[in-house]
């Protein structure tokens, strides 16, 4: 199952052409949408093949690193409008609970009545890959409602303009639209040029980091932009611990989700990519080690085990990872 799909495809094409001698020379069957996709990948591998192209994974497919951003971009542009409907179907509405818990456990916001007047008011929060605003709106709601904090602001950064457009549209229905507390910028998480170093109190990324071409670069950028004492928090799909549950979960992922994607959104391939990218994401402990390697201090006590930097949700279907930038840095 983990063999690169390109190898499988060329194997089946060889089968096709050998059979064709029976019926005379014929053009191999090729559907229009697939031939454009094939042409794209062939074009890239031909260009970079000579200098030893660096490859990465796109779901179970192996592609050149340069093309990953475009391929992921195409997926999210395609799903942008029905993103929430699809999330609801795929996670049976549980993703809302995960996001609520994520934000509550971060407890953003500074109560102006209890903080000393010398401290700068309000937090500066950066929400990465937060295009449609799910997390940003929850963060602002929590700060405003629980802590009476009217100054905490959130910058939503996403590489995909369609997701950002969807987020801007939704922000019009929140009370934050023209308050200056919500800001949308289009940028690549691996290169946050618009964000100055040591300026962010809280960096959040929910269900975004598994799509990045270089997760470690993104984590290092997070380290750079966070203030000393700032928190890095990541909500992402992870590995299910219980074997029986995992068997059921995997079958649901690889069978039902692409099917639902086809019926509801008319796009099987994007959802196939999504479930494959979940499969490819590192485990809880591996990801925690990546965070630690970037220089973050991991909360909780050792040794390995839940609670040391990560927290499972729904038996490991999703996990919250946290790290803190050390004060001395």
């Amino acid at each position: 199952m983990n063999a690169p799909r390109i190898a499988l495809r060329s194997f089946s094409r060889a089968q096709l052409t050998s059979k064709s001698s029976l019926l005379g020379a014929r053009i191999p069957y090729r559907c229009l949408s697939c031939s454009t996709r094939l042409a794209q990948t062939h074009q890239f591998s031909a260009q970079n093949g000579a200098d030893g192209a660096r490859t990465t994974h796109f779901g179970f497919e192996t592609i050149s690193e340069d093309s990953k951003d475009d391929r992921v971009g195409a997926v999210f542009s395609s799903v942008a409008a029905s993103y929430d409907t699809m999330n609801d179907f795929m996670s049976l509405y549980i993703h809302r609970l995960w996001k609520d818990h994520f934000v509550r456990s971060l407890n953003p916001g500074i109560n102006p009545l209890t903080s000393s007047s010398s401290e700068p008011q309000g937090m500066n929060i950066l929400d990465i890959a937060g295009g449609t605003g799910d997390i940003a709106f929850r963060l602002l709601d929590h700060a405003t409602t629980i802590h009476n904090d009217q100054t905490t602001r959130v910058t939503v950064a996403d590489i995909n303009p369609d997701m950002l457009a969807e987020g801007r549209k939704r922000s019009l229905e929140t009370p934050y639209a023209s308050t200056g507390r919500l800001n949308f910028i289009e940028t690549n998480a691996e290169k946050l040029d618009a964000i100055p170093s040591d300026s962010v109190d809280l960096y959040t990324v929910a269900f975004g980091i598994r799509n990045f071409t270089h997760k470690d670069t993104a984590i290092r950028e997070a380290f750079r932009v966070l203030k000393p004492g700032g928190i890095f928090a990541c909500l992402e799909f992870s590995k299910v611990q219980n074997q029986l549950f995992d068997a059921v979960y995997k079958r649901w992922s690889f069978s039902a989700i692409p099917l639902i994607g086809q019926i509801v959104a008319g796009d099987r391939d994007s959802y196939q990519y999504l479930v494959e990218s979940i499969e490819k994401f590192p485990s809880q402990t591996e990801f925690r080690d990546m965070i630690r390697d970037a220089g973050f201090v991991i909360p909780g006590e050792g040794p390995d085990g839940e609670g040391y930097g990560w927290e499972n949700l729904s038996g490991g279907i999703a996990a919250i990872h946290k790290g803190m930038k050390p004060i001395g840095a």
Binding site: R9, F11, Y29, L32, C34, K250, A256, Q262, I263, R268
Partner: protein
């Protein structure tokens, strides 16, 4: 329904790609680009889901396509492929594997062909509906790649069937055409889409039961298989000639009937308004 098809022919010609049980975590490699092998449960779920989805939103052509693919096996798509193998033109089509796209068909040239020719009528339907030949989805869920081609060919020829039967692209015309296709190709999706009769107005439904349904059944089942027409070679022939060859008689002009009905309704409304005005 089509030409003579004996049991022994079926057995000898059908592929030996027996249905291999596999799990969703361990799918066999694709047989053609875009192929997604489905298990029986998935195929059933796709059939049910796409049936419900296409009733709720008839504009989702991709769901109707998925329904066709999910219900074509076993037997029906194989029967259609075998019908092609029994006919010399059908065999040529299977060998050449022509595709109908905006690249392979020169639409500009078709627009300049004489009235009443297949090409001109086809382009007129496309232009009226504002679509191109590229809007058809690619076949993905049929395992045998030759059968997948047959399904793709059927899908791409649909607009030619409109030209052949001169049924308009309104819902009533589409349903009548689906009835014709059901009688001719026996694909289950065409029969299932007759459920859309429930969405027609009463007068349209009556017309179907009285005129177009019987026409579709008699002509579809009596005539030769329309899948065997090599459309790319018949573009300059007149539609009448192709109809005569296949043994299809033209149905009553539905566009004309509907236009006359609209006119009568409009006149009746005006008379009513005038009468009301006179009373006041």
């Amino acid at each position: 329904m089509g030409g003579p098809l004996t049991h022994s022919t079926l057995r000898s010609v059908s592929t030996s790609q027996a249905h291999r049980p596999f799990s969703v975590l361990n799918r066999p490699p694709p047989n053609y680009p875009g192929h997604v092998p489905l298990t029986s449960i998935e195929r059933l779920a796709l059939a049910i889901g796409s049936a419900i989805g296409s009733i709720r939103d008839p504009h989702r052509g991709d769901l109707i396509a998925a329904l066709a693919e999910a219900t074509a096996k076993p037997y029906f798509i194989t029967r259609l492929r075998n019908a092609m193998l029994l006919d010399p033109t059908g065999r040529r089509i299977l060998k050449d594997r022509p595709r109908i796209t905006s690249q392979t068909l020169n639409l500009e040239k078709l627009r300049q062909l004489p009235e009443g020719s297949v090409g001109r009528t086809y382009v007129k339907w496309l232009d009226r509906e504002g679509v191109t030949p590229d809007t058809r989805s690619a076949v993905r869920y049929i395992d045998d790649e030759e059968e997948a081609y047959v399904m793709q060919r059927y899908r791409e020829c649909h607009d030619f069937y409109h030209a052949l039967t001169s049924l308009p692209i309104v819902r009533e015309g589409e349903i009548a055409l689906k009835a014709f296709e059901f009688a001719n190709t026996a694909l289950p999706m065409t029969g299932l889409s007759l459920a859309a009769l429930a969405t027609l107005k009463r007068g349209e439904r009556k017309r179907f039961w009285e005129v177009y349904g019987p026409w579709a059944w008699e002509n579809g089942s009596r005539s030769k298989e329309v899948i065997n027409v090599y459309w790319e070679e018949r573009l300059e022939d007149s539609v009448e000639d192709v109809r005569r060859e296949l043994g299809i008689e033209a149905p009553p002009d539905l566009r004309e009937i509907r236009r006359r009905e609209r006119e009568e309704r409009r006149k009746a409304k005006e008379r009513e308004k005038a009468a009301k005005g006179a009373i006041v």
